[in-house]
Each structure stands twice: as structure tokens, then as C-alpha cells.
């Protein structure tokens, strides 16, 4: 780990000032990803700003519009087991519990989870080229070992995936990220928070360098009954998703009224195709309709050899997840048998 100075601000304004005056600064909250990356010399901040003592960011509150506001410093554990989250946003609770381990969830925060970096092997290995870690050096993953890599929205510069489970659920639930910067506060819908690699793969999100995440706001709950988070991975627990699907349906008997579908493990951001969700409106829930939706979501998917299996895997996972959601039988995150 490189050497760095540390600041321990007592207010959001002070925290923002610290990163405005130190361009090579990094915020630290739970530290579960940043400290790991610093030990691998992937992140080398010269100044670290400890957010753990900022007041007011560690609570879960009603928004007043029927939604819930999850403070940026709320731990993944606290959010997953919060009674209001479990009852009104069980999809989010399930996705949180599908990720990492209890030790990591206890330390990791909601804001930090949003800013998780990819687990691409080449990004993590400072001895290899990587456009995300060092722009302009190339992407060895495209012709290398790429079992875990993206099949949608890639660019010639980067085929990394976003690793979070939580973010996939937040995308399906259309959460909004509240941030503050020198110019004041703004709201970023989940769909616009993460970005595709394009020709700037070093940028994971549309957050500015001098902005700080305050909270995640969930809209009024609509999908408390028909939902699932289906995560497929190389081992049953504590592994990143090869493919995951967050599915949320509003049903009227056998008919779908409204659908939200987001995929994890397949792109540089949670993958949503609103046109595909539209296709389900008013349709009878069933394999035929779900398969057509899967075709649409995966339109343009491209494999790179090691990850080509993900296209068929994702197709099947979408159908299975929609079937689970329609039946009101969400995937258990303990009993990993897929029904």
C-alpha cells in the first residue's frame, strides 16, 4: 500500500472540501473494496477522507412520498434486515444477502456498494495492461481469460462488468442516488448512475470527482409480492455473479401489468431494456412471452470466447426469474436449489 495522509471530516461540506483541495484523494467508508485495491496498488490515493463519522448518513427514513431513504453509510447488513426494506422492497433485501459474506456486509456501506469496482482479473493485476486502470494501455481481457466478462454494452477498450448484486436490484426498483457537491445537491436515477465503458472505461459512474453520495431513495413500493433475485455463480456462496436477474412484476391474475427486469454480471452497469419490459404489459405470464422478452434483452449480445456461454445462460436465467416472480416464489438466498 502506498503512503497517504488522512482526513476525518465532521460534515458533508468539509468532506467535499477535502476532495476539492486534494485531487488525488479518495473517500473511504467501509473500506472493503478500497483497502483491497490499495493493497494491490490498483488504487494509490495520496489523501484518504474517512467518511465514517459524518452525521446523518447512517439512517433509514421515510421519504414522505411513500418511499424509503437509505443513508449512504447504512451498512449492507442493516439495509438487508431492516423491517421496512424486507416488507416493502424484498427484492433489494434478497440481492443484498446474495452478495459477499456477513463480515463484508457488516462493514460495506450502501454508498460504497454503488462505487464497487470491477473484479476483472486484468484490472486487479497491476502488472498487466488495462484501460480502466491505466487509460491507453489496452484490454487484454478481450483475447484473454474472460469467463466473468461482459456480453452487452462492451467497447473495444473494455469488457469489464459491474460486480454488485445490490445495484441490479436498485436498477429494477428505479432507485435514485442523492449526491452533494460544491454546487449543491442533485439526484441521479440508477439508470444514469453507472455508465458504459465507451472510450473512457476509467470512469465507472457519472458521479463527479468532487461529489459525495448522501443516500439512495427508493420510490413508492410496487413489487412487494412478485419478484425474485436469481444469481448464478461458480460456487454456491460468496462468489460474484456470472449472470444475475432481478425481476419485479405487478400482476393482475395471470396477466402482467408492469415489469422491471435488470441483469447483473453481463455489462459495465446493471442492464435494463425498457422496450423489453413494455413487451410484457398486458400479456399472460408464461414461457412464450418470457422467451420473447429474453430475446429482446439479449439483442446484440456478444461473447469473447470464455464468456460466450453467458448468452444462453442469461436467456434461461431471464425466463426462470420471470417465472419465479410471476409465481410469487422468489429465489431463496439460503437454499440455492433453483425452483
Amino acid at each position: 500500500m502506498n503512503r497517504f495522509s488522512i482526513a476525518r471530516p465532521g460534515s458533508v461540506a468539509e468532506a467535499v472540501r477535502e476532495v476539492t483541495t486534494h485531487p488525488a484523494a479518495k473517500f473511504i467508508a467501509g473500506g472493503t473494496n478500497l483497502v483491497d485495491l490499495m493493497k494491490y496498488d490498483v488504487e494509490r490515493p495520496t489523501h484518504v477522507v474517512d467518511l465514517s463519522r459524518l452525521p446523518g448518513l447512517n439512517t433509514i427514513e421515510e421519504t414522505g412520498e411513500g418511499g424509503l431513504r437509505l443513508g449512504a453509510l447504512v451498512s449492507n447488513t442493516a439495509a438487508a434486515y431492516d423491517e421496512r426494506v424486507k416488507e416493502r422492497y424484498p427484492l433489494l433485501s434478497s440481492a443484498l444477502l446474495a452478495g459477499a459474506t456477513p463480515q463484508l456486509r457488516n462493514a460495506a456501506t450502501m454508498g460504497g456498494n454503488l462505487l464497487q469496482r470491477t473484479r476483472c482479473y486484468y484490472f486487479y493485476d497491476a502488472a498487466t495492461p488495462c484501460n480502466k486502470r491505466q487509460p491507453g494501455t489496452g484490454c487484454p481481457a478481450k483475447d484473454g481469460v474472460n469467463r466473468i466478462h461482459a456480453i452487452l454494452g462492451t467497447s473495444e477498450h473494455c469488457i469489464a462488468t459491474h460486480p454488485s448484486d445490490m445495484c441490479v436490484a436498485l436498477a429494477a426498483l428505479e432507485a435514485v442516488v442523492k449526491v452533494a457537491g460544491p454546487q449543491g445537491e442533485r439526484s441521479i436515477p440508477m439508470a444514469d448512475f453507472h455508465r458504459l465503458p465507451g472510450n473512457m472505461p476509467e470512469k465507472d459512474t457519472n458521479l463527479h470527482g468532487d461529489e459525495i453520495i448522501l443516500a439512495i431513495e427508493l420510490p413508492e413500493p410496487r413489487f412487494g409480492k412478485n419478484h425474485t433475485y436469481l444469481k448464478l455463480r461458480d460456487r454456491l456462496s460468496y462468489a460474484f455473479a456470472l449472470v444475475s436477474v432481478a425481476a419485479a412484476l405487478e400482476m393482475d391474475g395471470e396477466k402482467v401489468v408492469e415489469a422491471r427486469i435488470a441483469l447483473g454480471g453481463v455489462a459495465h452497469k446493471p442492464w435494463r431494456v425498457p422496450e423489453a419490459e413494455e413487451m410484457l404489459r398486458g400479456k399472460a405470464a408464461g414461457r412464450e412471452a418470457f422467451s420473447a422478452v429474453a430475446d429482446r434483452i439479449l439483442q446484440g449480445a456478444q461473447g469473447y470466447g470464455g464468456n460466450s456461454f453467458k448468452i444462453e445462460l442469461a436467456h434461461r436465467a431471464i425466463i426462470r426469474a420471470l417465472s419465479q416472480a410471476a409465481a410469487g416464489t422468489p429465489q431463496s438466498q439460503t437454499d440455492k436449489r433453483i425452483q
Binding site: R3, I6, I28, V48, D50, P102, Q103, T334
Partner: protein
């Protein structure tokens, strides 16, 4: 502190953080195994390194040093966490319990320690302090009840000797006894 005496890695470009004057040590307070300690730490010292290198609490083990194996698990304010991924300075004011702090002052072992012995829940023992601290955290959380749930909730602790079956038995045993009280 020892880590400052290490030479720079071969072929590694010096960075701004090293060429500048070193930042001052930061004063922090930690309550470790019930004892309040006033400490001075470097910003980059992890809680794991502080425990082992500075405080000679060698019970907490360094395995992967990246949050993947769980051997460094300790309880921070009662919650299990990987001490290798926590910068000590960010835990200022916290209560830390390590494997050394689980037994009663008279040496009576914690029920979880007793159960690990009773069920032969280890072979080489390297992962054991982390397993036991993690299991104590699990019990306090109260989310795991069945063997299946225990396995899922202990997936952050790897045992390369493969003592998993007996580890689950030990935890179930303590859980049953706690429930019977």
C-alpha cells in the same frame, strides 16, 4: 513501525506519498478485549496489523489479507468484520473483541471455544480464531437457525483442512444450548 523500514519494491516508481514528509501518527482510542487503549497509528495500518504487529495479539490470523478467507475475523462493536480490510484509524472509538477476549477472565472458555474442542472442529487450527469469532457474531445476529443457514452465513470463513462438517456441528450445539436457556 516495522513496515516503514522495508525498502521500496524493486522497479516500483516512488509516488508522491513516499517522497513527501510522512504524515503524523494519528491518536486513536480503541477498547480491545475490554481494555481501553490510547494508541498512535499510521493512516495505512490495518486493524489486523495493529493487533498483531503492535499489540502482540497473535490470535487473529493473517490469511489472504484481502477479505476472502475470513481468518482475520474479529468483532467490532459486536459485529464480525475482516480486520485486514479495516484501517485502524477509521475504527477510532470502537470496541474490538479478538479470540483472546472471548474467554472469561478466570480462563473459562467461551461456549463456542468449548464446542469447537468438543466437536473436533479444526485440524491445523489456522482458520479457527476467525471461525470462532465469526460464529460468535453469527449467534448474536440470530439470522441462522438451520444447518443450511449456518453454512451460508459462515461462507466468509474458509477452512482448507475441510473441517466444515464439525464446525457446523459445533455452532448448532451452542445454538441449541443457548436456545434451551
Amino acid at each position: 513501525m516495522a513496515d516503514l523500514d522495508l525498502p521500496l519494491r524493486q522497479g516500483f516508481a516512488p509516488d508522491a506519498g513516499i517522497s513527501q514528509a510522512l504524515p503524523d501518527d494519528i491518536p486513536i482510542t480503541l477498547t480491545i478485549n475490554g481494555e481501553r487503549r490510547e494508541l498512535h497509528v499510521r493512516p495505512w495500518t490495518t486493524l489486523l496489523d495493529l493487533l498483531r504487529e503492535d499489540l502482540s495479539l497473535y490470535g487473529t490470523k493473517k490469511g489472504c489479507d484481502h477479505g476472502q478467507c475470513g481468518s482475520c475475523t474479529v468483532l467490532i462493536d459486536g459485529q464480525r468484520m475482516n480486520s485486514c480490510l479495516a484501517l485502524a484509524v477509521t475504527k477510532d472509538g470502537c470496541e474490538v473483541t479478538t479470540i483472546e477476549g472471548l474467554a472469561a477472565p478466570d480462563g473459562t472458555l467461551h461456549p463456542m471455544q468449548e464446542a469447537f474442542i468438543e466437536h473436533d472442529a479444526f485440524q491445523c487450527g489456522y482458520c479457527t480464531p476467525g471461525q470462532i469469532c465469526s460464529a460468535v457474531g453469527l449467534l448474536k445476529e440470530g439470522h441462522a437457525r438451520t444447518p443450511e443457514e449456518i453454512r451460508e452465513m459462515m461462507s466468509g470463513n474458509i477452512c482448507r483442512c475441510g473441517a466444515y462438517t464439525n464446525i457446523v456441528d459445533a455452532i448448532e450445539d451452542v445454538m441449541a444450548k443457548e436456545g434451551a436457556k
